[in-house]
Symmetry: C2
Subunit: 270 residues, 2 copies
Amino acid sequence: MMMMRAGLHAVRAFPSFSRSPSGHSVSGVLQIQGFGTQWKSPSAFQSLRPFSKVSLWPFNTQPKDFSEPNDSWSPEMRKMYDKYFALCEVEAEGGERETEGGEKKRAPWRKLPSYNRALKHATGGVYLSKVIQTKARLFTRNIEEEGAAFEYVVFMNKQEKRCVCIFQSGHLLEGPPGHVHGGAIATMMDSVTGTMTGYLSGPVVTANLNINYRSPIPLGAVVLIHSALDRVEGRKTFATCKVTSIDESKLHTEATVLFLSVKLGSFFGA
Amino acid sequence: MMMMRAGLHAVRAFPSFSRSPSGHSVSGVLQIQGFGTQWKSPSAFQSLRPFSKVSLWPFNTQPKDFSEPNDSWSPEMRKMYDKYFALCEVEAEGGERETEGGEKKRAPWRKLPSYNRALKHATGGVYLSKVIQTKARLFTRNIEEEGAAFEYVVFMNKQEKRCVCIFQSGHLLEGPPGHVHGGAIATMMDSVTGTMTGYLSGPVVTANLNINYRSPIPLGAVVLIHSALDRVEGRKTFATCKVTSIDESKLHTEATVLFLSVKLGSFFGA
């Protein structure tokens, strides 16, 4: 048995991120989710091809980015999105973009796309039937109705090794009457912190998730989920996470999360 | 602001539990979820009426118990269900039922029913719109398609202050490719442990949830979630939880959970 922990995380995106709603660069195939910018050289990325070429997309269209604004977003949600999206603009100086190590200089913040499917060819022993392989959907993106469950978008600041997620909770996430389920909050904290860590450290799985619930989140509310990388010790990455009101005056939840780096092939056959 | 924590828990059931699939005693109104057997006297239960009389059920039918077996259950799931259900039979002695404090003697195990709605009249400030109040669904029971997400049933052993949940993970709970999302596991651990604690200690909310992920759960697998009450210190209840394979040979996840007792009215108006 491989030594793996539940909860593989990394950026569910391409090495080159689209930085505007219309800036998709994805076509033809739905790529592996979870293997982000840490492989920047073409040769390193080349080695991903055996997995990344698996086509889940029968048409030559782009997979949906679920973190784009939609009609279910409240004005509050949209306002926060616009605020962070504005921080993703390239900082032009004198009309020209500077380069840095051969790359175009970018603003410190960028929006990460979000898809609803992991790779279909994965280990799962006898349990993973063909039906499950075909129908499997990412837990946080498993409901078609916009606004019903998890509406969220993650903005990453690589320089400061932190990210901010804007999260609007839908009516299907109820726990205590009129409030968000503790498990839904745990899910978002795990996902956001894992996405950040995957972005910064490569593929990781969650080893420990320690959550303190400070005050409940009303169902329907928009909140911010702040996550920051604390330190890296060998295979271990320690991160922190907190959920606050959008003006950051109220602390809802806080957590520490320990991730373990895993090899790329861990979940894809022996 | 009230001092509340996210994650209200208690038995989502009536004081009198149905102990066979056909033994419903529910009719007419959908009761508050989460206020269980701790109020056994009629007068104490009477005080719940202002809330419990709220009718979400326009017809004189019974709310659906989502923990009853359905066609999506695998043979493994059904076999475990039958095993624990057999432990719920009354221990008849000499053909007669003994009484104990005026109640019929029962077997130590009983199956808890599971509904998909909390009370609609709950606090939620400006966030809780009428739409959300009407459409809100319990996070773990929010998907109509049988077998797609969380299929589970909880068996409680009051005497031993512990419970066992049989959990079959559906294809919409994916995290790492082919495996259950860490947040979905957290959700089940929080829910099961909270249900047990609510059953034993009255209404509680989750204050701390500390999870160690030991080995991933394949999507579609059936696992057992064992929860036990550790100790009570004033308002605090400490509980433990672990997720194992159905033969209990493999440990997938373990957690400690701290709950705080709350007053009944916490979530219902000021």
